[in-house]
Subunit: 131 residues, 6 copies
């Protein structure tokens, strides 16, 4: 099992990015940082690397915010696990989030992130029709 | 208990509208038909009637489709129960649907609709933090 | 399959009792009406009839309210399905309700009651550790 | 919506078969009765009719029991909704049942069957990765 | 993200308190220890600190046990995440626990506690009507 | 709390076994390694040690594979938590897995395993009838 599950991360805030990076690495995941929403979409479309989940902040530099990146990811793979991180936009999740996603509100503990990614990956791997 | 729970319904197809109307009435709900997405949004914003759930087709006459009406409904009430009905757009639910919604694919049985509305209402009434 | 699943019902309000009785009967259940919380506890303890679920109003005549009857039922059978009906006490469910119960807020549609009972019975029959 | 969702039913007991047939029809489904487990597997493999769910008794005439038919159905379609009906074999579900299935214990109310089928169909239509 | 999510902990047993304290800290939470059930209720009512969850033993020194503290916490905030820890009282959870709570039976692994807190926090932050 | 929850592990691949062993130990569990499916069944039947969950690879040396060990474990305890690990057999879970089990697909992160075990243990300890 030389490979680790690669998690695509979009986070402009350097401090939060460091926390996310360390939490995922400690949990045994391999974080891959995208610099912007547009880059993340390009990486997901490219298909060179098999990303297993997306962790994204809501407010991003550039034209594409976190809500939009998640939609694009789901157009490519309808079962793609999505975790949103936000400080201010939590009340928008019910309207702008995608189904079966998890939203983490800042401040969050690293364990919450690792649990969120794990829950979505554990549920998603086999074909799970009903809950 | 003179009142019945009122369910807002947006369905252009007369045949389906009849099925939805009869199924909800038989289940003990009171269906309220909106002629378009725009009218539905106006009714939800008006707040004159306390709607308990939204049942909406995806492809609607006018500028606002079912995905958009659902988002508007959730901006007004983040816990509002949403049931989508669709013949062709099922694969878009994972990207365009709102969290905690149910999608019914045509053809569906009336019992599926009644169960979907009931499930969402039963889960939503009390403050249910975690599942 | 000569027997029907018997559902114990405690409801002082005659109008609601009639609705509950008819809804359960139409769904294929056999409602058994208890006149008070105390009588319901006696019936559950007696064990003469194998009740499959409890449907109870919150405000009851006598000393034992619906919250208390449910607790007693769970002391006898920890997996016993509980459905509360209430007009005014919905906000107390999170503090006074038992785990894995469903609360119906008046006005409710008969289909909601039948779906609630069915959901709990369908989930509860086999040993279902995790969800 | 000229078509109805077709539900494949395997039930040797004539009385139960009648109840299942009537409950599904009343709910708006179209029951299709298979005479044995072997015939059901043939029908599922044939692919002439798009069955939407399987309702099966456990003890069947012939060499293939309900546990086995369900496994075969899931080999053909990993997300296929399965509802088992049983009088005596409920305690075997945890070892012999397939994931995300529902078991109904006799006696059951027709509403339980209709709710079970509806729950599985409602959950299964869109790609639902995590619960 | 200078702040950490603060978790209120009531645990009389020094050894268990040490395990809980270390597990939460390692997970990135900030544990706040209350000396008794009464003190915990005072802290929750005071509202000086925004506690995100309650971890409580069942048997506590003083007049208020863990079941009661949880009820009080839910009266203040109906969506408040509750985790019970118990050695002997597990069979009472179905009657005395609050809805949507988690019970850990001793002996438990620290990872179980961290996962339990994370699951409840991840589910609870956005308005999640149905499961 | 001198004891730790003991998790029975069947994994032929030495590298994976090392990862599983370390992940469980770090999470605060006590892994107990069985050399084969047959030995695991013997240990579960023996009842000398109270195992709390089973983590098993699918392809095992000897006559009994992981699917079969899980069935045997569920015959002994219908609520026994099961986690499958597999590289190639993920698509067989829907047909061969037991209800309420979790399947981890290689490569997986250690955090996924710990979260999976914790989720099943947290859900399973109290009598949880409906989800």
């Amino acid at each position: 099992m030389e490979d680790l599950p690669v998690i695509l991360v979009i986070e402009d805030d350097q401090a939060i990015q460091g926390i996310v990076d360390e939490a995922l690495t400690d949990g045994g995941f391999e974080p891959a940082i995208a610099a912007s929403g547009a880059e993340a979409v390009t990486l997901l479309k490219g298909g060179q690397i098999k990303y297993r989940a997306l962790v994204t902040d809501i407010n991003l530099l550039g034209r594409i915010d976190g809500w939009e990146v998640a939609k694009r990811a789901r157009e490519i793979d309808p079962a793609f696990p999505i975790i949103y991180i936000t400080g201010a936009a939590a009340d928008q999740w019910a309207a702008k989030g995608v189904p079966n996603s998890i939203l983490l509100t800042k401040p969050f503990a690293p364990a919450q992130l690792v649990t969120a990614v794990s829950q979505l990956l554990n549920a998603g791997s086999p074909p799970t029709a009903p809950a």
